[in-house]
Symmetry: D3
Subunit: 70 residues, 6 copies
């Protein structure tokens, strides 16, 4: 499978939080202490079927990435 997004980084799921409609998943980028958070619908989380400790890929379209200069 290939996708049309520039950003695709391996990470390990470290926390999952469920709300009424939305859910939040935190994952730690491979080989680092950096964490990335993804918010999706609870339905998508259930369909994805992930649990803490699972390896996932973090995907984002480049247009939705903002750069900040310190």
């Amino acid at each position: 499978m290939k996708h049309g997004a520039r950003n695709d980084i391996p990470a390990t799921v470290v926390a999952i939080k469920r709300g009424g409609v939305m859910a939040q998943v935190e994952a730690e980028i491979e080989g680092t202490r950096f964490r990335i958070t993804s918010v999706m619908t609870l339905d998508s989380l259930n369909q994805l079927g992930i649990a803490e400790g699972d390896v996932v890929r973090v995907v984002a379209k480049a247009v939705n990435v903002l750069l900040v200069k310190p």
Copy 2:
């Protein structure tokens, strides 16, 4: 300065590409070989004033991050 986005990761600019309206910046996440690409307007790139080698912070709202299970 604080912002309302969950994702904020340090990276070094490794490539910049300019188009007529848009521009593309690639940055390497600190301590890794992972690259993240950001697309912004050319005007924003000029205003940001970044060059290859600069350290930036990569920011993304959690709602725009997609998880993929291999």
Copy 3:
């Protein structure tokens, strides 16, 4: 601090609503009656540490702004 987004407007926080995972913040654009709403994770809201009456800046990437012609 500079960021790579074209849109950056001062506004005053007028309402905050908290859900299980997400939170919603309404702010009024400086010198107007126009309101802008931002949705973020509850974690981001807590980290941002804003309250009603605070002045914030409203930032949005140009690609996520839609124009409508009446």
Copy 4:
């Protein structure tokens, strides 16, 4: 017509820039000097049929609005 976005603000088109695939439109929020920029495809710009001086409505989903605390 009604839409499911929280943000809908009147503005006047002040500048249009065309690229090969994308186009950029700047508009000034009614009663202010604040400018908002929208990026869309050139095809969408042509279909929208706007010119400088036109009044438009600026629409954005709340999830794509980021708050920054100075």
Copy 5:
């Protein structure tokens, strides 16, 4: 009314789910079994005033559409 988004498809609302801050609406694309889900704030849902069986138009900016090659 015209808008600056490339994607605009008729669909019928088949399910609505309400959370504390967010709401989720599922709609079936006209003439198909394909379903599209939209997440918006509960406030936007109430303002939109839609119910199951209503015909809506599904709009998305092209930059937020990802293509996947099987």
Copy 6:
């Protein structure tokens, strides 16, 4: 492969347009005349390696789908 997006629809690529930084792909939803447009970086298009006539899957996060009531 599974992903955390609610929207995933099969479509056939009908047109590709390349710019300096960005590219635009139009695809027709299976069994319909409805077209969906995706904008990505030229780099992503090349990596994806799609051509007219190819079957792809159109993916979008539910938060980026806007409903309009006629």
